[in-house]
Every structure is written in structure tokens, then in C-alpha cells.
């Protein structure tokens, strides 16, 4: 199989000739977080050390719930000791004028609530700790 032939045609734009077909691929982003666009789809490059750039692809869960984006806390529906089932709405955030329901990622007990109604929360800031974490559960809402 032949190797692709690549030529840069504009800033961040590459013409890639491969197996008798031509693709135009766009690449951009900081060195540790490169993104590409080809044929309507976005790809993210893996870091050299094998970890994923995209934080959502963590391999194991931590017993906490984080904010997905900068947002305002509209409602906190649980408190310390609350028992939650996977999928229960635990916090309602508002961002870009829309409400986002943040759901419990798993069954468990709330160990700590780290935000109050009206707080402005930043991405990745911890909103809730869960006491019972299952190592195989997905961390993100």
C-alpha cells in the first residue's frame, strides 16, 4: 500500500492523495490539542504519551460530578446524604439562556455539594462528590 502524499495548500489546509483519491484535510489547534476536519467530520489527535486530549474520554471514573462548561447554578436538587439513582437530575445549570439538567452518572449517595444556587461555575469545577463510586461507571453527565 502506498503512503499518502501530502501538500499544504493554505494555512492549516492539506491536500492528501491516498489510494487514488484526493482529500482536503484541515488541521488547527495548540500543539497538545490538534483538531482536524475532513468530509464533514472533526477528529482530535491523540497525545504522544497515549492519553486522550479530550477530557471526556477518561478511562476510569472519579467519584465526582463536574461542570461541563461555564454556567450558572439555577437549582441544586440534592444535599449531603441524598440517595440518587443513575439519571436523576441533581443540578440544573443555565448557560447561553438554556437550562441544562445535570444528571447523576450512577446510583450512589451524595457525599458533598460544592455549589449553591446562583454560583457561576467553571468547566471541570467539581459540583458534587459521591460516596459510592463504581470504578466502571462513566464519570461525565
Amino acid at each position: 500500500m502506498s503512503l499518502p502524499i501530502v501538500r499544504q495548500i493554505a494555512s492549516g489546509a492539506y491536500r492528501v492523495e491516498h489510494e487514488d483519491r484526493v482529500a482536503i484535510v484541515y488541521v488547527a489547534g495548540p500543539p497538545d490539542d490538534r483538531w482536524a476536519f475532513w468530509n464533514g467530520q472533526v477528529y482530535r489527535n491523540e497525545l504522544p504519551h497515549g492519553g486522550r486530549v479530550d477530557g471526556s474520554a477518561r478511562t476510569h471514573a472519579e467519584p465526582l460530578l463536574t461542570a461541563p462548561m461555564p454556567a450558572t447554578v439555577v437549582k441544586v436538587l440534592v444535599s449531603n446524604g441524598s440517595t440518587v439513582r443513575r439519571g436523576d437530575v441533581v443540578i440544573v445549570l443555565e448557560a447561553m439562556k438554556m437550562e441544562l439538567a445535570i444528571r447523576a452518572p450512577r446510583d450512589g449517595i451524595v457525599a458533598a455539594v460544592h455549589c449553591r444556587e446562583g454560583d457561576l461555575v467553571q468547566p471541570e469545577s467539581v459540583l458534587i462528590d459521591f460516596a459510592e463510586a463504581r470504578p466502571d461507571a462513566e464519570n461525565r453527565p
Binding site: V27, F37, M69, V74, A95
Partner: protein, 499 residues
């Protein structure tokens, strides 16, 4: 003719209006918040006025601050665009009181149609069919719950002041009622400062078809045919088209007649849209339709109407606001070919369509026959968490629906946006879905097909993408390599924008 028009908005719609001003020789004034100091609409206008900090409530939504900007800039008119203050009767009345032309209907019409409850009553009086439903006198959770019981589940709870899906919740099971009522009221309070709710019957698989109308100050009202907007997620439209494949010419006649009567009965002026729900459950080609609401402003999806009628709606709005009569007689306008619009949002379909914020490291709009792009960003723009995540609208026109669809899909495949996640891939999946292609769509389509439309792509990089990544790294790391930091390389003019 208006002399100087202040555009009380941002993003793509501000730029769209600025372009119309340029063509008409009207001076344009942009307003902006701290977060938008370097936004594209600020650069596009003849002048620009800072109105306040990033939160919309202290800038784009602040009536005193917008009015002060009007005074300071010496504008004689205001165009509100859509969203923000566009359907705020208090703002329109304040403009009227200050002798400033509001490009839109009279404030009392906005107030009447802005109360969705009052609008229902007016339409019933004008003989326009409305969706079966009820407004609870008692606005408590229990009162609204009882009303929902009387209307009969499933119902949709709506905000009287609502629009754009805000303050709207569908309820199918009794145990969902309380959370739905409370969150609808909260969202309505936050968005409109009015938590009044009403209840309508929920139709299982309706189509959303709306009619564009235009009325002047001389008693003439024309319609500019329909748009079908059945492809929506949580009442937020995603893809819109004209004509609607669901209408026979007889049904189109009845629908557009109802829309014109509705507009006439409320003394409408300027551009407006009457939204109808088309109940296709019976399978009849003459499906019953019901008035949903009237939008007393320009719509996001107005370009599809412009592409099939040839009318520049924003220009027409400015002319009507200047006191000119509409130059067309009813029936003199036609629908030519087909147009489809897709809205590109900064959102991540794989994670519940979470809005995304960040810098656009790379953003290149495609070109092609029949392709029009209305956008509010450019390469290097910062997408802020403070405002709607709409980046651009791609509108494709062609002689048939198939041609328009193919053109739209080709444009989306060639529209690189890097730096924030977008719904481009999702849009392509919608457009290539057999149900979309055959026109068998309803407002439940996106929910019903969600699993297919949002499924993650297979992991791993295609060979061509891997090769491009490698070429990019070589270019970036080899000192003196072509295109790597040479000051005279024109491509490096964009360099400062890279994150």
C-alpha cells in the same frame, strides 16, 4: 428613508441587517458588550457603541442602555433583529415615545401577540383555528397540574411570554408534571421575567409549518408562502425549508389565507410569521392545522423565504419602517425552486448537545452554486458562553428539494470549523436520513432518530487525517520549514489567532 439605523443585536443577524443598510445607503450603528469588542458585527457597521458588560441583561437586553446608545449615536431608528429585545413591547413603546422608528410592528401589537394566551384568544375571535388548550386562572403548581389533567396528557406546558422553546415542557406522565411546571416557570422567569404558563394538547407527530407575512402602513398585507420547520430539537429549529412537501396547493391557499387574516385582525405592520401546527396523523392530504403563535419579528430562518421568493425581507422591513408602501400585490409573488437552511451551532451532539465555547482556530466558509451563508463569526473569533451558540446558517437553493439538499450536504462537508465542537456531522446525518430525504418528517423526528443521529463515530483516525496531522506537526516543529514562521508568508497573517 431612515438615515441612521441602530441594530440592537449581535452575531449573524446584526451583520445581515448591516448589509441591507449598506445597500440602501442607510448608516448602520452596531452595539456590543465587553465580550464582543472584537466581534465581526462591530467591524461590519459604520459605527459601534459599547453598551455594557458581557451578560445580556446588562447589555443587549438592557432597555436603558440600548436607548442611551440610540441617543448617543444620533440614530433615528432601531432594528431589534430576533431574540433579545425584538419582541419586547416595553422597548418598542419606549422607542415610539422617544420618536425613534422601531423596525417592527406597533408596540401594542407586540404586547397582544407576545402574550401567547392573549394571542390564542384573538385568533379564535378572528376565526383562525388554535391548538386545543387552556390557561389556568390559578398559576400555582397544583392549579397548572389540574389544568393539565383537564386538557388530558400528553400536554405541553408553555410560557405565555415564550418563544424559541424557552419555558416549554412536554409532559406525558403525571409524575413528570411538577418538575416540568417548575422548570418551565423558572426558565420563563429568567428569559422573559414573566412566569405565566398555559397548557396545550400535545400532538404526537405534527409538522411545524409557518407563513411569512409582510404588512405596510397603508393597509396592504401580503404573504410570502410557507416554511416547514419540523426538524427541531426541544423546540429549537435546526433545519428549515420552503416549500413544505406536506402542503397541497389547496392546503397552502387555506394556510396562507388564515395567516393573512390573522395578521389583519391584529393590525399588523412590518414582517411577521404565523406558526401553525399541521396534524398529519390522519394521513389526509388536507390535514387540519392550528395556530401556534405569531412571531412579531424577523425569523432566524427568513433566508429560505428570500431564496424562493426573491424578496429581500430585511430591505423590505426597512422600507416599510420608512413609510413606503409594499410594491407587490397579493398573489404577485411566486415560489421558485426549493431552499433549505441548516443552522450551525457550537454544541456537542455526542454530549447532549451541550453548548460549546472557545476560539475558532480555523473557520472557512465554503462556496458553491446556490449556497448562501449568513454568519456572525470569522476565523479567530471567540465563541462566548454568554450568548446563543449559533455560528452560521447555510442556505442552499436549487430547482428541486433534491438539488437543494445535495448542495447543502456538499457545503457542510466542506465547512471546516475547528476549536469548538459543532453539529455539522449531525446535520449531515439528518439530511442523509431516508425519512428526511423522502419528506416523511414531523417535529418528533430528531427525538425518534436520536440514537442514529448522535451515535459516536468509530474510534481511530482515517489514513488521510493521520497523514495531515503528521504533515502539520512536521511543518510546526521543523525550524525553517515552509510556512513555519516566515514573516512574508501571507498564511501567517492568521498566526496570532491560533490558541
Amino acid at each position: 428613508m431612515l438615515q441612521r439605523l441602530l441594530i440592537a443585536n449581535r452575531g449573524e443577524i446584526a451583520i445581515r441587517i448591516i448589509k441591507a443598510c449598506r445597500e440602501l445607503g442607510v448608516e448602520s450603528v452596531a452595539v456590543y458588550s465587553d465580550a464582543d469588542a472584537r466581534a465581526a458585527h462591530v467591524n461590519a457597521a459604520d459605527r459601534a457603541v459599547l453598551v455594557g458588560p458581557a451578560p445580556a441583561g446588562q447589555s443587549y437586553l438592557s432597555i436603558p442602555r440600548i436607548l442611551r446608545a440610540v441617543q448617543e449615536s444620533g440614530a433615528d431608528a432601531v432594528h431589534p433583529g430576533y431574540g433579545f429585545l425584538s419582541e419586547n413591547a416595553t422597548f418598542a413603546a419606549a422607542c415610539e415615545a422617544a420618536g425613534i422608528v422601531f423596525v417592527g410592528p406597533p408596540s401594542d401589537v407586540i404586547a397582544r401577540m407576545g402574550s401567547k394566551i392573549e394571542a390564542r384568544r384573538l385568533m379564535q375571535a378572528a376565526g383562525v383555528p388554535v391548538v386545543p388548550g387552556e390557561t389556568p386562572d390559578e398559576q400555582s403548581d397544583a392549579g397548572i397540574g389540574r389544568t393539565a389533567g383537564r386538557v388530558g396528557l400528553p400536554v405541553v406546558i408553555k410560557a405565555s411570554a415564550g418563544g424559541g422553546g424557552k419555558g416549554m415542557r412536554r409532559v406525558t406522565r403525571p409524575e413528570e408534571l411538577q418538575e416540568a411546571i417548575q422548570s418551565a416557570r423558572r426558565e420563563a422567569m429568567a428569559a422573559f421575567d414573566d412566569g405565566t404558563l398555559y397548557v396545550e394538547r400535545w400532538f404526537e407527530r405534527p409538522r411545524h409549518v409557518e407563513v411569512q407575512v409582510l404588512a405596510d402602513g397603508h393597509g396592504r398585507i401580503v404573504h410570502l408562502y410557507e416554511r416547514e420547520c419540523s426538524i427541531q430539537r426541544r423546540h429549537q429549529k435546526v433545519i428549515e425549508e420552503s416549500p413544505s412537501v406536506a402542503l397541497t396547493s389547496q392546503l397552502r391557499d387555506r394556510l396562507t389565507e388564515a395567516a393573512v387574516s390573522a395578521a389583519r385582525s391584529v393590525g399588523y405592520r412590518n414582517a411577521g410569521t404565523i406558526e401553525f401546527l399541521l396534524d398529519t396523523q390522519g394521513g389526509s392530504r388536507e390535514a387540519p392545522f392550528y395556530f401556534l403563535e405569531m412571531n412579531t419579528r424577523l425569523q432566524v430562518e427568513h433566508p429560505v423565504t428570500e431564496q424562493v421568493t426573491g424578496v429581500d425581507l430585511v430591505r423590505a422591513q426597512i422600507l416599510v419602517a420608512s413609510g413606503d408602501p409594499i410594491p407587490w400585490t397579493p398573489g404577485s409573488l411566486g415560489q421558485r425552486g426549493h431552499a433549505i437552511e441548516a443552522r450551525i451551532y457550537a454544541e456537542d451532539p455526542a454530549r447532549g448537545f451541550l453548548p460549546q465555547a472557545g476560539r475558532l482556530w480555523l473557520y472557512r466558509e465554503p462556496q458553491g452554486p446556490g449556497i448562501r451563508i449568513d454568519s456572525g463569526v470569522e476565523e479567530g473569533s471567540e465563541v462566548s458562553v454568554h450568548y446563543d451558540p449559533l455560528l452560521a446558517k447555510v442556505i442552499a437553493a436549487g430547482e428541486t428539494r433534491d438539488v437543494a439538499t445535495s448542495r447543502l450536504m456538499d457545503a457542510l462537508r466542506r465547512f471546516p470549523v475547528l476549536g469548538v465542537r459543532t453539529n455539522i456531522r449531525f446535520l449531515l446525518r439528518v439530511l442523509s436520513h431516508p425519512r428526511f430525504q423522502s419528506g416523511q418528517i414531523d417535529t418528533g423526528f430528531l427525538d425518534a432518530e436520536d440514537a442514529v443521529l448522535t451515535a459516536s463515530e468509530p474510534a481511530g483516525l482515517p489514513a488521510v487525517v493521520r497523514a495531515a496531522f503528521e504533515a502539520h506537526e512536521d511543518r510546526a516543529t521543523v525550524p525553517g520549514a515552509p510556512g513555519n514562521g516566515d514573516r512574508d508568508d501571507p498564511w501567517n497573517r492568521l498566526k496570532g489567532w491560533r490558541g
